[in-house]
């Protein structure tokens, strides 16, 4: 299989500009989280909402109900029947970078993305993968890379690879409804997402 080499940022810029979604935008998702303290990955279903300007909301519907809101440099986690927890992102630069990238993607703002990441684009036909690697070593220690896979103007998967080997794959839109591979591994999910390797 021949992967076409990325033709550099100009194409990436065009693609990212194309990905922009006017706020508010929402999409259903399926998230698979690989956490090393757990024997099996966590699988969550719910809805993502982009309210513009670094303001994101992530609702979990199954296997439990929870709403996380990210705004103003803080995360709020609200769970039914429990006190809302609030965390500032100051001590979590990787989370901050990740959220900034997500917001920038949805806002189509390549300038913000380039401040934090170096961007590489790989394309194969209509399929493409944006690989984002943090500039900052401290951030990279926690967040090794972000892969955004998609086809034409639609993002399909949003994959975070964390420094400690943990990570998560978020399948968006139509991909969220797809049957998950068995066994559930990062590699199997990459295939499902149509990852384009350089």
């Amino acid at each position: 299989m021949l992967a076409q080499p990325a033709s550099g940022p100009p194409d990436a810029a065009a693609l990212i500009a194309h990905l922009a979604r006017p706020a508010p935008a929402h999409t259903s998702y399926t998230e698979v989280r690989f956490v090393h303290v757990l024997r099996a990955p966590l699988v969550l279903h719910g809805e993502l909402e982009y309210l513009g300007q670094d303001h994101l909301s992530k609702r979990v519907d199954t296997p439990y109900r929870e709403t996380s809101t990210i705004a103003d440099g803080a995360v709020e986690v609200a769970r039914e029947g429990r006190e809302t927890r609030r965390f500032t992102l100051d001590r979590a630069p990787e989370l901050k970078a990740m959220l900034a990238s997500f917001g920038a993607l949805l806002g189509g703002d390549i300038a913000v993305l380039e401040q934090v990441f170096s961007i590489a684009l790989a394309q194969r036909g209509a399929d493409w993968t944006l690989k984002l690697t943090p500039h900052d070593a401290e951030v990279a220690r926690h967040l090794r890379e972000v892969d955004v896979d998609g086809s034409a103007g639609e993002p399909r998967c949003f994959t975070l690879t964390e420094g400690g080997g943990d990570g998560s794959v978020m399948l968006l839109g139509g991909a969220a409804a797809q049957k998950l591979p068995d066994p559930l591994t990062p590699a199997a999910l990459a295939t499902l997402c149509g990852r384009v390797q350089r």
Partner: protein, 770 residues
């Protein structure tokens, strides 16, 4: 003596004064901490009040707000400013939204089971652990997973977060990008100064440091820093008071100079008129620097006011000069009276030494030395330098007409008695409370500043400056136990909105007894492992993941409970250290309050735990201190009056003549009081000082009018001198009376009024005997 010599001498005198001033200025340390002017605390409670007023965290807190840019930039500036202030030696503690309490001192980690209240309600059994672990699975799916994951093996019940939450104030401003924000969209910071809140000079330094740090931030754009807090008020109000006082006294000096020119028609006189009082003031300062090392700001202010009587000495000399007679013999003519006035005033001020208040000792030394030196300068130096060709003021026909008019005034014998009765009656009928104990009321904070302060305090949930909940016991452990005992009632008050938050010491550290109870509830390794194993049954955690948790619980079972001393060494210990204090063998817990809505409800906590819990109202307590202080001053003034009568009587060797001097002075003082009181004025320390100055001036008028065997020309000279003195005092202090600052108005009005009364009564009562 020829004119050239005189000029040389004047210049030499002035040069000597200036060099003394320069020397004094180099050695002079002006203390501004109000407490060193107050009486020493009599008991542990008073010491606590004084310490808290001056050094309590609430009084040292400055609230900083940055506005005028978008929030992201404001947040960045707030973080940079906080960082700069943390490095600044003026500040003890700087708080901003970035403080993340999730970091506990690692050596204290096993103690979390003794510090957290979890074990008060739960057991570490299968049911509880299962409930917690299910939630941890959910946590791992949330955005905060990364932060919790490292904690999890050691702390699956997240006690560290429970503690962090417990140690976070109930009300926290909105946080954005690690900075606090007010509802108005300004970034907020809290900075605690190292200097006491009672020390305006040191507060001014801290505020200047904060402003400089802000000015040094890059890319400030149009952003602006505003500051509020007790220390800031002291500085702002002090500066505006000083500005007004300076403007008014500059005007006063100008008017005084014009008056002297008009009265003596001689620039030479004007040139030397200020030399005696300047010499007295500098000698007074030098004496204090030698005796005490530093001088208190209030001593200076009060001292200069009281030294005002010395301005009369040269005027008496100028008015009593006769043509063809050299200055020295003119001075000799009035010297016995001047000497009597100076010595009796000195004897009176000596009583301040007996007051037992350090600030008043300094005041006594300053005034006594100042008066003696000003007197000596008038007697022996002034005659050498005054112009040798004087104008005899007695030649004025106008003055003679005035003297004759005054002498011819009817002087009914019953009038003084009537005035006395009227004065006493007026005093009785006065509407306002007799004393104004709230010193702050004399230097009020502008309403706009107060409103701004309230707004920021509300936004930040900063502790109340006025109220403090005090827990008392015979040991630190006792205080912590009391704190735990009142906790349920305090919770009720918070939910009833009587108060927004109460920062009890047991929030940080439970008593040893409570720690032991929690310790006894910790299961042993076998039981815990069994419960954990059962709780984990079908959850997806890796096997053996929670071994560190089991180890920590085992460690916690045998730990010696955490003492305040040990806790105070940890990063969070500073808070507790400030809250737990020992005074005179008793232990006090000081719980800061924020948002006090119902002080009465808080005061009622005492009923629940009599003798251990009480609401300390710093305002009332400090007013009580001021009242006590005033009692001492009043006693000193009473003794001073007695000594004054005695010295005047001894000097005259006649009780009748002494009566003619003392009676108008006392009656005039009474009448000033009566008039002030009937205009709704409550008296403060400043009024007392002003009354004392007026009485000192009144003593001069009465003494000079009481002179025996003088010819008509000499009587005219006396009248001239007295009129110049009265006009000068009424003008200078009348200007102050027009000030918008209550403290300046108090002094100005009292002295101006006093001088007028003293003059009228002296004319009326003293001359009657002739």
């Amino acid at each position: 003596m020829n004119a050239r010599w005189r000029i040389v001498l004047i210049v030499a005198w002035a040069v000597a004064l200036v060099s003394l001033a320069l020397l004094a200025e180099r050695r002079l340390v002006v203390a501004s901490d109000l407490r060193s002017f107050m009486p020493p605390p009599a008991d542990a409670d008073q010491r606590l009040v004084l310490d808290e007023i001056g050094e309590g965290p609430a009084s040292r807190l400055l609230m900083l707000a940055i506005g005028g840019a978008d929030e992201a930039r404001l947040a960045a500036m707030a973080r940079a400013l906080a960082e700069a202030l943390r490095r600044d030696a003026h500040f003890d503690r700087v708080l901003d939204g970035g403080a993340d309490l999730a970091s506990l001192d690692p050596t204290l980690l096993p103690y979390r089971y003794l510090l957290s209240p979890t074990l008060d309600q739960h057991e570490f059994d299968e049911e509880f652990l299962r409930h917690e672990l299910e939630q941890r699975v959910e946590d791992l799916g949330s955005p905060v997973a990364d932060q919790l994951e490292t904690l999890l093996p050691r702390d699956p019940t997240l006690e560290v977060l429970t503690l962090a939450q417990r140690w976070t104030p109930a009300k926290v401003p909105r946080i954005r990008d690690g900075a606090w924000f007010s509802p108005r969209g300004e970034a907020l910071l809290l900075a605690q100064t190292r200097a006491a809140g009672f020390d305006p000079a040191a507060q001014a330094e801290a505020i200047a440091a904060a402003e400089q740090a802000f000015a040094a931030l890059p890319d400030r754009g149009a952003a602006q820093l505003s500051i509020a807090g007790p220390g800031y008020f002291a500085v702002v109000v002090g500066a505006s008071t000083r500005r007004q006082a300076e403007t008014l006294s500059a005007l006063g000096t100008l008017g005084f100079a014009l008056l002297l020119l008009a009265a003596y028609r001689s620039a030479g006189v004007l040139l030397v008129a200020a030399l005696p009082i300047a010499s007295g003031a500098l000698a007074g300062i030098a004496a204090i620097v030698l005796a005490y090392g530093s001088i208190h700001g209030i001593t200076l202010a009060f001292g200069f006011t009281l030294l005002g009587v010395a301005q009369e000495y040269p005027i008496r000399v100028f008015s009593h000069r006769r043509a063809g007679v050299d200055a020295a013999s003119s001075v000799r003519g009035v010297w016995p009276l001047l000497r009597l006035a100076i010595l009796s005033a000195c004897i009176a001020y000596l009583t301040f030494f007996a007051s037992g208040v350090p600030g008043l000792h300094q005041l006594a030394l300053f005034t006594v030395v100042g008066l003696l030196v000003a007197g000596a300068a008038t007697r022996w130096l002034l005659p050498v330098v005054v112009p040798s060709q004087p104008r005899d003021v007695a030649e004025s026909a106008l003055l003679e007409a005035l003297r004759a008019r005054l002498a011819a005034l009817p002087r009914p014998v019953w009038l003084p008695a009537l005035l006395l009765v009227a004065g006493l009656l007026m005093l009785r009928l006065a509407p306002a409370p007799l004393w104004q104990n709230d010193l702050a009321a004399l230097t009020p904070v502008p309403a706009a500043l107060l409103a701004r302060e309230g707004e920021l305090r509300e936004a930040l949930g900063a502790p109340d400056v006025r109220y403090l909940l005090v827990l008392e016991a015979d040991s630190a452990e006792g205080v912590l136990a009391t704190s735990e005992r009142v906790y349920p009632q305090v919770e009720k008050l918070i939910s009833a909105h009587a108060v927004d938050d109460v920062e009890l010491p047991s929030r940080y550290l439970p008593s040893l007894a409570t720690q032991r109870i929690r310790q006894s509830k910790l299961p042993d390794r076998a039981h815990l492992s069994a419960a954990l194993g059962a709780a984990l049954r079908d959850l997806p955690f890796q096997p053996g993941l929670f071994e560190p948790f089991v180890d920590d619980v085992e460690t916690a079972r045998t730990l010696p409970p955490l003492t305040p001393e040990a806790f105070e060494r940890s990063p969070f210990g500073a808070r507790l250290e400030a809250m737990l204090v020992e005074r005179g063998g008793r232990w006090f817990g000081l719980a800061a309050l924020s948002g006090v809505h119902d002080p009465a409800a808080l005061a009622a906590l005492d009923a629940a735990d009599p003798g251990h819990v009480r609401l300390l109202d710093l305002k009332t307590a400090s007013e009580a201190l001021v009242a006590q202080y005033r009692t001492r001053i009043l006693a000193a003034l009473g003794v001073a009056l007695l000594l004054l009568c005695l010295s005047v009587a001894l000097a005259f060797r006649s009780a009748t003549r002494a009566w003619h001097v003392i009676a108008p002075m006392s009656l005039a003082t009474l009448l000033v009081l009566a008039v002030l009181r009937d205009f709704g004025v409550s008296l403060s320390l400043f009024h007392l000082v002003a009354l004392t100055l007026a009485a000192g001036l009144g003593l001069h008028y009465a003494l000079f009018f009481e002179r025996r065997s003088i010819d008509a020309a000499e009587a005219r000279r006396t009248l001239h001198g007295t009129l110049v003195c009265v006009a000068a005092a009424v003008f200078v202090f009348g200007l102050l009376a027009a000030s918008t600052v209550p403290v300046l108005r108090a002094i100005g009005l009292t002295v101006a009024l006093g001088v007028a009364f003293h003059f009228c009564l002296s004319v009326f009562m003293a001359q009657r005997s002739q």
